[in-house]
Amino acid sequence: MHKFANPTRFFKACDVVYPWIILLSLSALCLGLYFSLVQSPVDYQQGDTVRIMYVHVPAAWMSMMCYLIMALSCGSSLIWKHAIAFSIARSTAPIGATFTFLALVTGSLWGKPMWGTWWVWDARLTSVLILFFLYIGFITLYHSFDDRSRGAKAASILALVGAINLPIIKFSVDWWNTLHQPASVVKLSGPAIHTSMLTPLFVMAFAYICFYFWILIIRLKAASNLTKIRAFEARQINIETELD
């Protein structure tokens, strides 16, 4: 990891990965959508509504994975002062917030026909809603400091504290007996879903992960270019004031 603390080397590696990640995410998305919307069987109870799962579940996984990546990079930026780490956290936050929003919206659309309501105050839904506000808090906190490095540290601390929410989300369906179904894919006794539905789900999840890295690279590059532009402008102002 420390090898990539050098921004030049890091962005060179990004450039190598970038076209492949686009290719992978687009092909996985096409394959996954074909599998999930056409190939996969109709659920005997839910009918075609079950297909919302292929959009909803990967989004929910991503919302947690993004926070995990964010918290880990915040930790390494605080502990080892890794040069890229906070940049990754900062670029991940809006993506994670969007995935969380997507999970909440698709869940609500799935909940209406299945549970008969758009929203219930159950433990899983509430904890994911809190996750969404943690993302928003992180982004807002970072932007409310004039000194960016200070904002980075404050936001990192907040992200690490908020990570307490992750195990709560994961185990909320087991700890509290509520409307949201308990874990059916990632559990010790093996998945409780048939392979015909599990395969499209995993392909879609893979597509989402690749998509995340795709957007992350774009955002990282944009952030680095913005820093360069700011530095350039600052230099320009310095030269002008010296001339005056």
Binding site: F145, R150, K153
Partner: protein, 221 residues
């Protein structure tokens, strides 16, 4: 322990001499509770049912008012720098300041809550559970709130920022606090909820002072 008490008594003296601040929080709390019966109607059954929730939500909002002042003034006038430089552990300074905050803002709120319980027609058992849950829960609010206050030191609009940061973290306290007080209506035992609140208190007591002093050091450097 001498210096811990010194910080504690300094903050008490500041709170007593400025007086108005603790009083403002109490008045805000009372007004907040009064607003609910006016907004949803004075029907007795309804008020009895949601009384604990009203009091907990109002305590949450009232606590929010006072959070900015935990560290902000000391940060601005340089007292925090001195506390940080001294060989007295910053973690203990933080615990002292949080204790002072709890005694000067949360304790008055708990003291006035019996009067408000009368306003809301609250039965005695509910009120007793509510008091227990407040005694266990409000220190957690002070601890987490101090964290929000420390993290936003030196930001541009900390008074707007702090609620945004701490409300999501307050939610577990609110849930267990209300369900402990509401146990009679929910038909559950209040003890597990109170034990959970105690767990939250011990957990945040272990984590928060440490994290707060890290963020204060970052803010001062």
């Amino acid at each position: 322990m001498g210096r811990f008490n010194a910080i504690l008594s300094r903050d008490f003296r500041l709170a007593i001499r400025q007086g108005s601040e603790s009083l403002t929080v109490v008045i805000f709390f009372v007004l907040c509770v009064i607003i609910f019966p006016l907004a949803i109607g004075p029907e007795k059954g309804l008020l009895v049912r949601i009384g604990p929730g009203i009091i907990w939500a109002s305590i949450l909002l009232a606590t929010m008012l006072s959070l900015e002042n935990i560290f902000q003034k000391d940060f601005e006038d340089g007292n925090l720098d001195l506390m940080c430089i001294s060989d007295f552990p910053l973690e203990l300074v933080v615990i002292a300041k949080i204790t002072a905050h709890w005694v000067t803002t949360a304790l008055p709120l708990i003291i006035v809550s019996p009067i408000l319980a009368i306003f809301l027609h609250m039965p005695f058992e509910t009120w007793l559970n509510l008091i227990f849950s407040l005694f266990l829960g409000t220190p957690v609010l002070s601890l987490i709130g101090a964290l929000g206050s420390a993290v936003s030191l030196g930001s541009r609009k900390s008074s707007l920022l702090i609620p945004l940061l701490v409300i999501p973290l307050f939610i577990p306290v609110l849930i267990f606090g209300v369900s402990a007080a509401d146990a009679n209506f929910l038909g559950i035992d209040s003890q597990p909820q109170l034990v959970f609140l105690g767990g939250l208190l011990l957990g945040s007591l272990a984590i928060c002072p440490w994290v707060i002093s890290i963020s204060i050091r970052h803010a001062l450097s």
